[in-house]
Symmetry: C2
Amino acid sequence: MNKNSEENTEAILAAAAALFRQKGIAATTIRAIAREADMLPGSITYRYATKDDLLVALMRRAVEKVRDGVERMIAETDDPVERLRLAMRVHMRVLLDGDDAFHVLMLDWGRLSEKTRDALSKERARYEQIWDSVIQGAAASGRLVPGLDLTLLRRFAFGVGNSVALWYQPDDPRSIDEIADAYAALLGLGALAHDARHPDPTYAYARLSALYPWESERKLARFEAEKEKTKGDQDA
Amino acid sequence: MNKNSEENTEAILAAAAALFRQKGIAATTIRAIAREADMLPGSITYRYATKDDLLVALMRRAVEKVRDGVERMIAETDDPVERLRLAMRVHMRVLLDGDDAFHVLMLDWGRLSEKTRDALSKERARYEQIWDSVIQGAAASGRLVPGLDLTLLRRFAFGVGNSVALWYQPDDPRSIDEIADAYAALLGLGALAHDARHPDPTYAYARLSALYPWESERKLARFEAEKEKTKGDQDA
DNA sequence: GAGCAACTTGGACATGCGTACAAACAAGTG
DNA sequence: CACTTGTTTGTACGCATGTCCAAGTTGCTC
């Protein structure tokens, strides 16, 4: 029949991504992918010699796509904190509604074979780097609590974004962007120092201490004690 | 040999949990579990007729254990916000350092067969209920931003806690409790109204609006405008 | 020390897996 | 029309899987 090679390749990748996401990688058979894509298993083997090759090709595409999306999105504004929100939007939009492969890439990362992980780690690192730079930009603007562990913050943000995929169902009454914004807000309210409203550095410092209690439990107490003395005149 | 049945059962469950976590459920074979537990596959079949039976038994135990742990932990204090932090600690401690089965239960939930999910949903719901009640307690104390979608908040908290499992390595220089506290703080700083320090209800309201931008983009703007008028005297 | 229940053993089974490959086929080129 | 190239087909191989079971072994009880 030799219909259309490129079209069939797309069908294979789409079917594979959907099944990998739904059932996991190990539980998805080449035969099942072929059935889903309306062809015989041989046609898959013809394009991708092994199951791992298919997996790598799939994920490489996925991470490239989302990287492009995020890069384009954050170019739309100069506000470093707004960038964080927009990046979160794209990340979650792709994760929930877009390419299933990205879902697999984020959630099954730890279970890929070492060889597969190595083949993809450069791409993934480049994506994480974009997030790091967005977060660093936000931190440099002075609008984050100072002294944060930014890698931890990136992981926190990633975790928040990725975790939605564990419960989100397409029939949810909220739109994906709504959830993304709400999560970004929960995230932002946590990390932002709200400088415009409460620029008191002592306050930010006390919050930082609360964030790393093992470093100095006493800083917050000192702040509280300080406040006791000047009780009654601290807010607008 | 008939060494010790109970001991062997433990060995099976431990080996199964470790392998399920490491390689995923589908990729873990009964033979591999047997090898890990130093016995023959038949001994596993003798106790658990099918792989699914083993899975269910494993997870039931795991969720019971963490539920007990959380319940015991939150009984240690009356402070509703402190309870949130302590619950997070137990959750993450079990997830990262404790029973591998809990890890599987949280992260592979969506990929269990429908039958297996049904068999476990009651247990899991009971655990989620504890979290909901902790969060509701915190909300009732008035120390959270009012008007939050509490289910969304629970999912947010769960997601944050669970996501650590996707990157945490045992050789991390931070202790699990340190990470748990830092995450709880990032979480708490986001949701808490910091009433003791900034009890201004207008401020909390504006933050709420920022949290649900699609409901009323203008509330925050109104707050900002309001503040413009009284510029210069709003903090301690 | 005989009997018994609990447990383990080793081997077998049907099934489904990833992969391989020769043959058939389709479309384009000269 | 013949020839080539890219693609699909159908079938096959060897292997690993979940599950099963008859026979063997152990420690306990009277």
